[in-house]
Symmetry: C2
């Protein structure tokens, strides 16, 4: 039996031979450097059948997938038969794509041609390949050539989906706390400080934030595929705007509102030549862009423009939520908390009644409860609804059909979140469905200790997330337990559930955690084939006063959903941790009470009794 | 009244005008990049009267001292009248010397000449100045010139001390656990891996470690001013060796022993031309050197040699103590602990009898107790003996005369250490001399919590010190207290009390803490004008087993001296911390008991009763 993917790879090789290419890189991203991507850019999945994160490199005698620890199990299930080898990243002795290709190129005596899909490869990543080749002693531009081949799969992938163009909405100042004109003015000030007179924004959440617009072009990410040019006296938005693609009233109203503010709306495809033209006629002098999200193709076309590459100033500003955004996030967590408590009540009662509940049923039930919330615009990522061994995979995908059934014992893990027009949520609860083993109870308690210790942190201004990370890990480390993912990621305001620049993890990210930043707090313990535990709340960084020793910061927990106390080994908690837990559960109960029906309220009162 | 230092600066300016220099950098280091320096290189102190760490820049209209937070108070006391401005480093918005000079140079329309003492300025630091000038838009080499002016103060500093040349001893394998031939063979393997055929070692503790030699050329650092060239078939040691400078038997025996192993001993001054000559005649191809300790002058002379600059491999290897070194360090801490306990007994009894004891008396008493230990070779740094407000200065210098008297109340801090031929110690005890204020008791307890929490750490292999640092700070942070210095530094084996590459601090040092490394654990709290608390032990990293979650490490405390329990606010300790403290004090008592007289033993039994 022939393998579809092995066949596709052979057809790519036919193309390579025809064009004289020695290696092709298939990107896992889109033209905007996005983490989540629309189906049009599922190129790695189309070629390989593997649908996790990662990138492919195909040569005439090798095909490899590069991905990290989170996806090793998934890759090892999906790759067999395709002829694709797994190249592990985030492991000791990893060889990343640039170095791997460079070694191939350096071993060649003749010309070596590397083709990249310049649309989906960032300018930074292509430069990394070039630099690795130079480091390996290759003469890049001469014996080693990197060919920009945008949409190189188009000839083979005949039913490839188009560029998404969903309805676009605008958000008013009463929701975002700041008008697009204020944000544009801020960006212009930053550009002047940098000695630039224009910036090309390429990352989709940065554009959505700056323009106060939202769409649904990418699943779970309420963004709109577009580019944005901000000069000192003009703003040009490059977006799919024809009546065929976006015929809806919302979009037309949004376009009208935006045009009335003097912002020009141009076609998505016009960006390169429009910007190049403005550089040529002198309307742009020094153009700022971020090489992480500027794609190689655009970079190539803008070769004659005076480009200044550097990190975008938008992510930090966007991460510092203003009071209106914070109020919205609090509301979102109130509504989301009610849905979560109703869900947990339903879960407990259904199992008690002996109903058959699968992981999929549970995920669907939770989605339907969130869908009832006014302002709900979808989930913020695909719900991880995982019972027992499934929960041991931090990035488990709940099957659509024949999902495992929840049993009235052991641990059920549910990691989910909602997008509301006033905020974004992300919560994980690990729920004891009945009797638990000692190892399950230990894991449940140790992870909760780590979660609480980070939530209780007080720290001097200037402290980075990587300097706080150990607070969540130390209680686990004391028992020689650990987890292989980050402890916390930034969360957008009705935007991407993952955003920078801050995080809380072991990487050396120097960005301090600052007031207004919202980050997750989600330690875990995973035992392959047995169980997984993760406890996740979102925490808001707030001021904690100033004294002789400096300025102090702390966290306020935004998430409102109780932690089940039945699986806790109380003797493992310190007095402070126990007090934190009791106070948190009490706050959840008291805050949600006015919005709960009698049955759920009575149940929650019992679930939140102090231990 | 004229100021000596203002006058010296004017004489330097006369020289600058005569030679056409616009700026002069006066280094705070020596030709080997040392942290502690011999009197010959106290150039900053000779020019400015300030004798802490720091560097000076003198221009025709400005004189500035650059130093960090530890020395602000000292500088503000010693600089008035000199005309020297204090430039603060390790503060937000710091402008370091390279950027400061570059700004001066960039503001100049004519030629700008910067003179550096190439002997005492590392090649890396001179390159940093050049790079900053280039970044500021200057044409380095043309309008901006950096002039190598070794020993530029010689004409003015007429009674400048010579290069020290103290007796040199060798250490046998029974002490170091490894012969110099084994260490040389290891280095040759590393060089071959790097594709180099020689290394010029320039850091003094690296040379002492590799050759298993010790001297006393620098106060507190048992090193010998020298250079060492290791090629694949030769070893050349460049050291002051004439009979006039080093006439002693020990040195002659050491030289004989070393020569018998085929190591060539050449004059200290011969290094540059000897190495250059070997490069010219082809005995050296690619020469490895570390730009942090290679001085600019040598770098300049070796301009035609094929130099490969990079971090020296020696510090990491040296930091990973072998079993013999670890056994020696344990012995050193046993002997040192006995001296410390005798000292603390003497202190308590003297004050109880109403004797007059000054900070200086206490320091002298401790030194005399250490001096009685066989193998004692001096202190490992200048003892900080500080009562009350003095202890609030982490780098307090105890006056030689009229030192403050210890009162029978409040806190006395003593930070000290010894050099023994079998190891190096570094210990701080903060001693309650009688009743303490609530703030003193709180500080004493919180710092002890931080100390204990780090000492109790268990962590996965690969964890860096900066990822553990918060363990020592978190108990302080919870009460909004902090300290402005690192938590831990590496400690040498009968070598420098400060060594790399590891440390435990908030800097982003990626070096993991590995088995065999010895590091200090010394959090503190300082209240200007009131009191200071620091608790310091040395901790050895050891293996802690392997399980499903990976490989685990932990710390073993080497220091053996009880912590006084009388100032502890017991309710602030967790159960785990209290147990650690009781177990540690019990271990100290039981381990030292066989070596204590009856009076001290009885007293220590009482001091170490569990709380």
């Amino acid at each position: 039996m022939e393998n579809t993917y092995a066949d596709r790879i052979e057809r790519i090789r036919d193309m390579m031979r025809a064009r004289g290419w020695n290696a092709v890189v298939i990107s896992g991203s889109d033209p905007h450097g996005s983490e989540y991507i629309a189906p049009r850019w599922h190129q790695v999945a189309w070629v390989s059948g593997y649908d996790g994160e990662g990138e492919l490199v195909i040569t005439l005698d090798h095909a490899g997938l590069w991905t990290d620890t989170r996806y090793f199990i998934q890759a090892s299930r999906q790759l067999p038969g395709t002829g694709i080898a797994l190249h592990k990243t985030r492991v000791p002795d990893q060889v990343l794509i640039p170095e791997w290709i460079a070694a191939q190129a350096a071993a060649q005596t003749e010309e070596y041609v590397i083709a990249v899909d310049g649309n989906c490869q960032s300018s930074g990543s292509v430069e990394a390949i070039a630099q690795a080749c130079r480091d390996a002693g290759c003469d890049v531009g001469d014996t080693v050539r990197i060919v920009n081949a945008p949409d190189l799969l188009d000839g083979l992938w005949t039913d490839r989906p188009g560029i998404p163009a969903t309805p676009i909405m605008t958000l008013g100042d009463e929701i975002t706390g700041e008008s697009r004109q204020e944000r544009i003015a801020w960006l212009r000030d930053v550009l002047e400080e940098k000695g630039c007179d224009a910036m090309l924004l390429t990352a989709l959440d940065e554009i959505a934030w700056l323009l106060n617009i939202r769409a649904a072009d990418i699943p779970y990410n309420p963004v709109c595929i577009s580019y944005l040019l901000v000069t000192l006296d003009e703003v040009c938005w490059y977006v799919t705007k024809d009546d065929f693609s976006r015929p809806d009233e919302d979009t037309l109203d949004s376009f009208d509102e935006i045009r009335r503010e003097g912002i020009r709306i141009l076609g998505y495809d016009e960006v390169a030549y429009s910007v190049a033209g403005m550089a040529e006629d002198g309307s742009i002098g020094r153009l700022y862009a971020d090489p992480v999200s500027l794609n190689h193709n655009l970079h190539t076309i803008l070769a004659d423009v005076n480009l200044v590459l550097g990190p975008s100033p938008v992510p930090l500003r966007k991460a510092l939520k203003n009071p209106t955004e914070i109020a919205g996030m609090r509301d979102a967590h109130l509504e989301d908390g009610v849905a979560m408590e109703k869900f947990l009540y339903w879960l407990e009662k259904s199992l008690a009644f002996g109903d058959i509940v699968t992981e999929r049923d549970a995920a669907d039930k939770l989605a339907s409860l969130r869908a009832g919330i006014p302002g709900y615009k979808g989930d913020s990522f695909e719900t991880i609804s995982a019972y027992g061994p499934g929960a041991a995979l931090p990035h488990y995908i709940t099957p659509q059909q024949d999902a495992p059934r929840l049993e009235p014992h052991g641990l059920y893990l549910c990691d989910s979140g909602g997008q509301y027009i006033f905020g974004t949520t992300d919560i994980t609860r690990t729920v004891p469905l009945g009797p638990c083993t000692p190892l399950e109870r230990e894991a449940y308690t140790l992870v909760l200790k780590g979660h609480i210790d980070l939530a209780m942190a007080v720290f001097p201004k200037g402290t980075a997330g990587c300097q706080l990370d150990v607070l969540a890990r130390n209680p686990l480390w004391q028992s020689k337990r650990n987890f292989g993912h980050g402890t916390g990621h930034g969360v957008g305001f009705f935007l991407n559930v993952h955003e920078g620049p801050q995080d809380i993890r072991q990487n050396f990210n120097r960005q301090p955690i600052l007031p207004g930043m919202i980050t997750s707090d989600e330690p875990g313990i995973y035992r392959e084939g047995r169980h997984g535990v993760r406890h996740e709340n979102l925490i808001l960084c707030t001021e904690a006063g100033r004294n002789d020793f400096g300025e102090w910061l702390q966290f306020e927990t935004l998430t409102l959903c109780h932690f089940d106390t039945s699986a806790i080994v109380t003797s493992l908690l310190t007095e402070d941790e126990r007090e934190w837990l009791n106070a948190y559960n009490r706050r959840v109960y008291e805050t949600l009470l006015p919005r709960l029906g009698e049955a759920v309220a009575t149940w929650l009162e019992q679930k939140t009794r102090p231990i």
